[in-house]
C-alpha cells in the first residue's frame, strides 16, 4: 500500500502562520516542539534557516510563512516537525509556526488544477476554508515527481 493510500485524508493538524491558518495531513506530522537552539552553517539553500537537533536527528528548519502569508514569522512559538515523503524515508523538516496547533477531523476537497502547487486539498473548519499544504511543493529539495499530494479517500471499487 502506498503512502498516499495509507494517508487518512480527514485527520489534519491545523497550524497558524501569522493571521492565517493552514493544515497538514496528520500522518505527515511527527511532533510539535518548543523552539530549541538553531544551528547555522554555510549552505546555499536560502529557504533553509538552519537545523535543529531532535532525538539525535538533524532536522532542517524552513520558514514557509514568507511563501504563504508574504512575510517571515517574527515570533516562533513552536516547530512542527513534519515528514515530506512517504513513510520509511527520513526526510523531516521543521516548520516554525506562530500559534497553537490543533488536531481535527474534516472532510477534504481535492485541489483543482487551478490551485497553487502548495495546495494539496481544502478543508472547511469552524466556518473557515483552509488550505491543506503540500510540503513537497512548498519546501526545497523535492522534485515534482516526489510531491506528496493529499488524496481524499476514494470509495472502494466494487466488482
Amino acid at each position: 500500500m502506498s503512502w498516499m493510500e495509507q494517508l487518512d485524508g480527514r485527520s489534519c493538524v491545523l497550524l497558524r502562520l501569522g493571521d492565517r491558518r493552514f493544515a497538514l495531513a496528520a500522518d505527515q506530522v511527527s511532533e510539535l516542539v518548543s523552539p530549541s537552539r538553531m544551528f547555522r552553517f554555510a549552505h546555499a539553500t536560502p529557504e533553509i534557516d538552519g537545523v535543529i537537533l531532535r532525538r539525535g536527528r538533524v532536522v532542517p528548519v524552513c520558514d514557509v510563512a514568507e511563501k504563504l502569508v508574504g512575510k517571515r514569522l517574527t515570533s516562533r512559538r513552536y516547530y512542527l516537525i513534519s515528514r515530506r515523503r512517504p513513510e520509511g524515508t527520513a526526510d523531516w523538516i521543521a516548520l516554525p509556526v506562530s500559534g497553537d496547533c490543533e488536531l481535527i477531523h474534516a472532510d477534504l476537497t481535492p485541489a483543482s488544477p487551478s490551485d497553487s502547487p502548495h495546495v494539496a486539498a481544502w478543508l472547511s473548519h469552524a466556518g473557515e476554508v483552509i488550505e491543506v499544504l503540500n510540503l513537497a511543493a512548498l519546501t526545497p529539495g523535492t522534485g515534482p515527481a516526489e510531491s506528496m499530494a493529499v488524496e481524499t479517500p476514494k470509495p472502494e471499487a466494487n466488482g
Partner: protein
C-alpha cells in the same frame, strides 16, 4: 506519532576528524584526507599568484613537480565573509590546498548524518554530511568538493599561460644580457 530512536546503528565506526575554523564558522574534515598542514608564511616564497576571474576563490598555487596545487580560500568557497587565512591543509588525492583561519582541535566522530534533501544546492557537493559533537552540529567537508573538473581546467589553462609568459620573459632577459 514520534520519531523512532535514531541510534540504531549496530556497529559504531569512528573516524578521526580535524575541526577547523574559517570566517568564524567551524567545519570538520577527515584527518585521513589531510596530507600536510602548513602555515601561510611557510609557503610565502614558494607560491605563485594567479588571477583567474572564473575561480575567484583561488588566488595562489604551488608547483609540485609538474603539477599545480591550487589554494582554495575556504571562506570564499563557502560564501562566508572573506578571511585571509593563516593555515593551509594540503589535501590528499586532490590538487587542492585549503586556506583556513585555524585549527580548533582533533577529535573523533562516530556518526555522519546525510545532508537532508532539503539542502539542494552546492552544499551537497561541499559536505559529506553533518556530525553532532558536544551538542553542536558540524558540517563535514567533502575534500573532493572544493574544485570541480571545470574549475581545474580553467585554472590549468591560466597557469599554462602564466608559465609560458614567465618563460618568455626569462628568455628575453637572457637575450638582453
Amino acid at each position: 506519532m514520534r520519531f523512532e530512536s535514531a541510534h540504531k546503528t549496530p556497529a559504531v565506526r569512528t573516524e578521526q576528524i580535524i575541526l577547523f575554523r574559517s570566517s568564524n564558522q567551524v567545519f570538520a574534515i577527515s584527518s585521513a584526507s589531510v596530507q600536510e598542514v602548513r602555515s601561510v608564511d611557510s609557503l610565502a616564497g614558494m607560491s605563485l599568484a594567479i588571477d583567474e576571474a572564473s575561480v575567484p576563490k583561488v588566488r595562489h598555487l604551488l608547483r609540485r613537480g609538474e603539477q599545480s596545487v591550487y589554494m582554495v580560500n575556504a571562506a570564499l568557497h563557502f560564501g562566508l565573509r572573506p578571511s585571509a587565512g593563516a593555515l593551509i591543509f594540503l589535501l590528499r588525492k586532490t590538487r587542492v590546498g585549503l586556506l583556513i583561519d585555524g585549527i580548533e582541535k582533533m577529535t573523533t566522530m562516530t556518526r555522519l548524518q546525510a545532508l537532508s534533501p532539503a539542502f539542494c544546492h552546492e552544499e551537497r557537493l561541499w559536505y559529506r554530511g553533518l556530525t553532532v559533537l558536544d551538542q553542536n552540529v558540524i558540517p563535514v567537508v567533502n575534500p573532493q568538493g572544493f574544485l570541480s573538473e571545470d574549475e581545474l581546467q580553467h585554472l590549468d589553462a591560466a597557469v599554462g599561460a602564466l608559465l609560458e609568459a614567465q618563460a618568455a620573459s626569462t628568455a628575453e632577459i637572457g637575450l638582453t644580457q
